[in-house]
Amino acid sequence: MTIGIVALLLTDAAGLAIPWALKSVIDSLSSKPQTGALLSMAGLIFFLSCIQAASRFGWRKCLFGPARLIERDLLNHLFRHFLSLDTPFYQTHSVGDMMSRATNDLRAVREFVGLGLLIWVDAVVVIVSALGLMFWIHPVVTFWVLLPLPIVSLLFFNFIKKIGEGHAAVQVHLSKITSQVQENVAGIRTLHTFVQEEHQKKLFDKLNREYIDKNLRVAKLYGIFSPSYIFTLGISALVSLWIGGNATLAGEMTLGEFVAFNGYLLMLSWPMMGLGYVINLGQKGRVAMGRLLEILNAEPLVNDSLVQNDRNFLIRGSVAFKSVTFSYPNANKTSLNDVDLLIPKGQRLGIVGRVGAGKTSLINLILRLYDPESGVVEIDGLPINQIPLDVLRKNVVRVEQEPFLFSMSIRDNIALGDSSADDSQILSVVHSAGLQDDIERLPNGLDTLIGERGVSLSGGQKQRVALARALLAGPKVLILDDAFSALDGDTESQVLTEILSRLDNVTLILVTQKLQTARKMDFIVFMEDGRILEQGTHNELMQTNGKYAHTYRNQELAMDMEITLQ
């Protein structure tokens, strides 16, 4: 960094010396020098510019380079912090917003650190020294010539701000266009069914025209700004020519000085503009840094602060809810309402109920993705917040309805469960998840890359990859959150039977829409509006003849219908 600034100063010094050298060349011309003298003058200029080039190379490397390093470190730091933040944070921040902070804001900070700093140093050095030399040559002319220049800075600052606003408006509008196209493609069937093509075209046309207007508004600003910048500089040059020319004629300065004077004036144009630019960069950088700090200062609420036990803590697998009430951050509705539930170690529990009844909320608390508002969740009789998070999550594993798969190979996705697993262990879980036939059909077997979010797999395949991944982790509590919804009936019962025999002594919690499946569990809870409405074995619940029994019979009928039609 220091080297960079030294190199920068050297560049400026060499840059300032060149017009001076030219001045002496021109002044000496009147005294008809020898060719040798001219050659040495040329040599001097060449030498000076060699210094300039070398030191310019130096500062580019030494000032832009560290800015890049800072950017990398900041991004790494940010990413590490992202990894430590908890689910409540992610629930309240959209991925798009965080992405834009990690990319756009980070770039703004980098630009300020690299470019901003550079321009600042450069501008100050060049302005001060060029002005000094100009004053040295002729103070009065300097005064007149400088008069228009602050206008440039002012102009620049103002316009950049306005242009920035205009650009923002254009961006907002472009995202409107994007959403319309996106919605059109997503809802193309509905649109075509209702013959909405022409109407959509009209809407699109309107958006597009407004977009042109917004763009042209920026163009107009820019169209005024950039020529008026050149205009102001031209005026300075004109003043220099006129007043400076007169001064030269009056013998107040030599012709060489006049030429050098013009040279320095030319050098001033960029730093003058640069000052306006650097103020703008600084503002942007400060706002961006603020946005980054918002994330960097966020602390995970779900943390290990209450943990007393050491890491060797062993989880056996009983789970208890004691008058637990819970609602999601920013939600106006409680998701769990005073829930009491005991799941003994090794038991198999079925949780049923409609969408929004609170089934998944219950699961989220067992995984401690959130902490409850009131009440306690206990594992093996110990409050869940006293168990180290990594121990808890190594032993309590969930398979989701729409599992998240990473764009890696199938093997790597399964190995998320246990990275030290060997081939035979992986093959064993693949078999248990009923995946072996599917994998054999894939071009590279287990090593097939599955694309972003696992696009190349069907819904049922994704669910079974997630199951294999969970089985590989060897959990003490396994949670299947509607994890077989995309499987057909036969495959589902096959896989379930396999799991039940494999996971002897493991607590199993099965959330499902299909009561036929829930029936196979040791006991069942029926949830509604965040409460446990009915609870017991299948037979008990059927005898109660409540909502469970009603739903069960409805589903049975639908099943029979499907069977009849097969």
Binding site: K32, R72, V95, A186, A219, G234, N246, F404
Partner: protein, 589 residues
Amino acid sequence: MKNKPQGESLEDRYLDWALFRRILSYLLAFKNWVILSILLLLVVSVLNLAGPYLTKIAIDDHISVNKIEGLDKIALLYFGILVAAFACQFAQIWLLQWIGQRVMYGMRTEIFTHMHRLPFRYFDKNPIGKIVTRVVNDVESLNEMLTSGLILVFNDVFTLVGIFCVLLFLDWRLALVVCLIFPFLVMAAKAYRVRARDAVRKNRSHVSRINSALEENLSGMTLLQLFGRQNEFYKKFSDANEDKLHEDMRALHYSSVFMPSIDLFSSIAVGLIIWYGGGRFVQEEIPLGVLVAFLQYLQKFFEPVRDLAEKFNIIQTAMASSERIFELLDTPVEIIHSQIETRVKPVQGRVEFKNVWFAYNEGDYILKDISFTLEPGETLAIVGATGSGKSTIINALFRFYDVEKGDILIDGCSIKDMNKYDLRRQLALVPQDVFLFSGSILDNIRLGNTSKEMEEVTAVVDAVHAQEFIESLTDKFDYQIGEGGKGLSLGQRQLLSFARALAVNPGILVLDEATSSVDSETEILLQKAVGELTHGRTSIIIAHRLSTIKHADKALVLKNGEIVEWGLRKELLRKKGIFYNLYKMQADR
């Protein structure tokens, strides 16, 4: 290894003149404006070059000969030139943007229109994001190329040529001396361009790698935390970050060498001029003003050289975008018969399928020889297991896809002979998964028919029993529905879909019943609404609920794409087949 061919094809694209011509053809409609813009550029370049020349005159004719009169005139002329340059430059910038925006507007409209004419098969195959990128981002980067790349290249070229002409005019011998450094300049620019392009391209691929890693990790954060894989993923991420840094540094290195090297060339030229020109001045072959002007022009000469090297890279990126745009535009569209004759008479509602065969993939028939007739006002229930071809019947009726063999007739007229828009105006579909658009409830019910009166809408809403829930919303009909219908329950979305279908008062109603269960009160509402919808209207219902079957006039049982039972409900019940069994199940409850 894998990326190599792609890199090479990028190189080819760079030289693809056919593609380039096609891009230029979009400018053709604005031919005169483009020429005007280029002329303005020329004027601006010339005016910008006039400054140093005036300085020369001032020095030669006034300052060095001590002649004060006339200097004012030169200053005035200079001022005039500045004002003219200002005006021309403003006009030029604005005009260029205007052309760019117009071209972009035309192109976007063309793509959007084209997109709506593409066969559904295209949408089956291409992810949404890809299509959106074509219409929005690719057009944007093409615009970038037109406005800040292609035409501005003229600017640089003009300036270069202009300066060189002035130099030649001032003194051809000195100009030739400057020429000595040209070959080196060209070599340096070329060496830089090739390397910088490579670094920039690699950098871009690392950036997109980082961005997708970021996006993926943020989306799957809970999962990777649950499996405790923070360290592993951090390692992967920071590796990508490191790779990007490497390319950043490489690009920085190239520009750090190239940019100062241009300065060096510039001062070599200055040195040569001082040595050679100074000598000639001493021998009184040239006046001092020429020498000063020469030195001033030389300083301006090297800026366009720097610029041109950068601009080639912009143009190249845009070429890749344009190729993707043209690929979409070249996808063949479906023909929509444009003769408007059928729409005059209101539809009676007779539907006939005549030996219809259909396959999504050639030879793999999903519908096999389907024939049935529905008289005006009748309700048909279609039942069948998953994958038996129920939805395909709808797709064929709406002509989302054309049937392979056989024919579908509405009121005795083949749908193939109808204008596709007219056909669909007679039909209304209530799909299984309701698609709601972002906007108000009202917009979602009447869609494009904004002329529809509020009373009509209220009547429709009343008829399908949706008024109660709409009244309960904060802004009632103006309630803003979020993306994908967020904030509304399954049942509410169904009711809205019913209202939407009834609002167009279709001759024929097609209903694909939702499979997912709703609570029993909503279920009753939905059943009532279905009764209202089908009343006195030819209706085809894909039935998932036994209760629906009860109200049908006719029924059709599908199995593996074939009809196993078909006829009047009463007849089918007498036959005691599959339909009878289903019906009995319902009755047994």
